[in-house]
């Protein structure tokens, strides 16, 4: 609630001015939008990719054990290292992703340089880093489903997809719920990946709330007032999100 001067020293109590300035700043609302988009994309990606890997691996066919191990690989590197590895992969024109894109007949995709693609790129990296966590959790849940349920379904003539959607998924909803909640909150807090890949750019297209908090305070203007106001908003968002998810989703979750 204080304003800061050229050097970041608080120079006066200004009441709710920082909040007023923040709410009337169109950039702030854009930041919120980007934050929400990132969260939705990230959680959706993690659930889909997690299931896409866990479901086949849980089939207990001989030899899938090796793949269970491969899933641990993203956990073997820190987020910073992962982010930097992808930064190399996504380097414009000379990075492998663009090389492959051109080899497939397309053009350079501005992974980190196009405002249309940048958010997707950051989401991709976020999903990659969470593969270990998500798959292990989903595997544990899938493994604990009683075999007899499937045998009964087989007898009834249920095919794979029908079986998955009508039986398997509903049976693991507690775990799915847990994944959605934790990853949503994690997405709201994610800083490292974005900082390392795009630093909020290009043209602020990946500037989420956390990045905004950081930039306001440490981006050169030392505007601690603006940064603090945004920190409060982040806090409120996370608390609200947790409350909503526990309230609404809980009802749809089937406990055995």
């Amino acid at each position: 609630m204080q304003s800061t001067n050229l050097f970041g020293q608080p120079n006066g109590f200004v009441g709710s001015d920082n909040f007023a300035a923040m709410f009337s700043d169109p950039d702030f609302w854009r930041t919120l939008g980007i934050t929400v988009l990132f969260m939705l994309g990230s959680v959706a990606g993690k659930v889909i990719v997690g299931l896409a890997i866990a479901l086949p691996v849980s089939q207990r066919v001989r030899g899938t054990g090796v793949f269970r191990a491969s899933v641990l690989i993203p956990m073997a590197v820190s987020t910073a290292v992962a982010g930097l590895a992808f930064r190399a992969l996504m380097t414009p024109s000379t990075g492998l992703f663009d090389v492959i894109a051109r080899a497939l007949g397309g053009d350079n995709v501005g992974w980190l340089t196009s405002t249309n693609v940048s958010l997707l790129s950051v989401i991709i990296v976020d999903v990659w880093t969470a593969i270990g966590f998500t798959v292990l959790l989903l595997l544990a849940a899938l493994d604990s489903i009683d075999k007899q349920v499937f045998e009964a379904a087989d007898v009834d003539g249920a095919r794979f997809w029908r079986r998955t959607f009508s039986i398997t998924l509903p049976l693991i909803t507690p775990t799915l719920f847990f994944v959605v909640v934790t990853q949503s909150i994690q997405a709201l807090r994610e800083f490292t990946i974005i900082n390392v890949l795009t630093a909020g750019g290009p043209a602020d297209s990946t500037r989420t709330l956390v990045i905004d908090i950081y930039q306001a305070a440490f981006g050169g203007t030392a505007d601690y007032g603006a940064s603090s106001a945004r920190s409060i908003i982040l806090l409120v968002l996370i608390l609200a999100l947790t409350a909503i998810q526990f309230g609404v989703l809980e009802r749809r979750v089937n406990y055995r």
Partner: protein, 272 residues
């Protein structure tokens, strides 16, 4: 599944998935050993097309990597050690401390759990500056010597501890400390190990906070240091990639060795 065709399809699918997952690390590894140019901008980058130690030499030249790894190690030991200590004691007090409203205390901790670090970094940063601890290793682990998450997990486990043993021990004249070390901890070791491991990984991976409170390359921890190295290496891609490899070695070893604990650590948190 009984059909062999389906088997093959499954394997092929999983093999592709595994390759895709491993792609970034393989790319970095091959790039770090390929003689300049480390990245050729062609599909050859997918294969190891040569060998040189040059980039590793360059990486060590550009950044004090070993010193930074030492810093990170110090942070891990201090942060994890203190966290486990405070969490065990706090959980013990909550469960066995005969408070009238233990739920209230736990509730207070849970509330702090819901406050993300990211919302408090600015305030903590200013505090550190005022304390004159800027650019020190102490500043890196200081805010994390207590963890509500660990307290919560341990409290759950302690709750499940059989009361008969506790009573028997009290009858035998065992004081709280003795009970803690001789009975409680040994029997709840798996959870304590998990808490330690999770805490250690978090300490090693810390990025935002060390980024804010350290500045000189010799005071930095390895995550921030490797990012700075990557930036500074600029067009010398090889050095950046080599740095990534060096910095990942401890965590790779950790994951290989601690697989089971890690897997359990995740599921324990979920089930509770």
């Amino acid at each position: 599944m009984k059909k062999p065709v389906a088997h093959i399809a499954l394997f092929a699918y999983l093999a592709v998935v595994a390759l895709v997952i491993i792609l970034p690390l393989v790319y970095v590894l091959f790039g770090s050993i390929r003689p300049t140019p480390a990245i050729t901008g062609t599909l050859w980058d997918l294969l190891p097309t040569g060998f040189t130690w040059d980039h590793f030499a360059s990486a060590f030249n550009r950044a004090p990597i070993l010193r930074q790894m030492l810093n990170s190690a110090i942070v891990v030991v201090a942060q994890t050690g203190l966290q486990v200590l405070t969490s065990v004691l706090a959980a013990y007090a909550i469960v066995f401390g005969n408070f009238r409203r233990p739920g209230l205390i736990l509730g207070a901790y849970l509330v702090t759990m819901m406050i993300p670090n990211e919302a408090t970094v600015v305030a903590n940063y200013l505090t550190i500056r005022q304390l004159g601890l800027f650019d020190t290793i102490v500043a890196v682990f200081m805010p994390f010597v207590a963890s509500a998450y660990s307290i919560f997990l341990l409290r759950q486990t302690f709750l499940g501890f059989p009361t008969e043993i506790k009573e028997a021990a009290t009858v035998d004249g065992a004081g709280p400390m003795r009970f803690l070390f001789r009975f409680l901890l040994p029997l709840t070791r798996p959870t304590v190990m998990t808490v330690t491991l999770v805490s250690a990984i978090a300490a090693w991976n810390g990025y935002l906070w060390p980024l804010l409170v350290t500045e000189s390359p010799t005071a930095r921890t390895v995550q921030v240091g490797v990012k700075a190295l990557f930036d500074e290496a600029d067009t010398d891609f090889g050095a950046g990639l080599a740095g990534l490899i060096v910095v990942s070695i401890p965590t790779i070893i950790l994951v290989i060795v601690g697989q089971k604990f890690l897997a359990r650590g995740l599921t324990e948190g979920a089930v509770k």
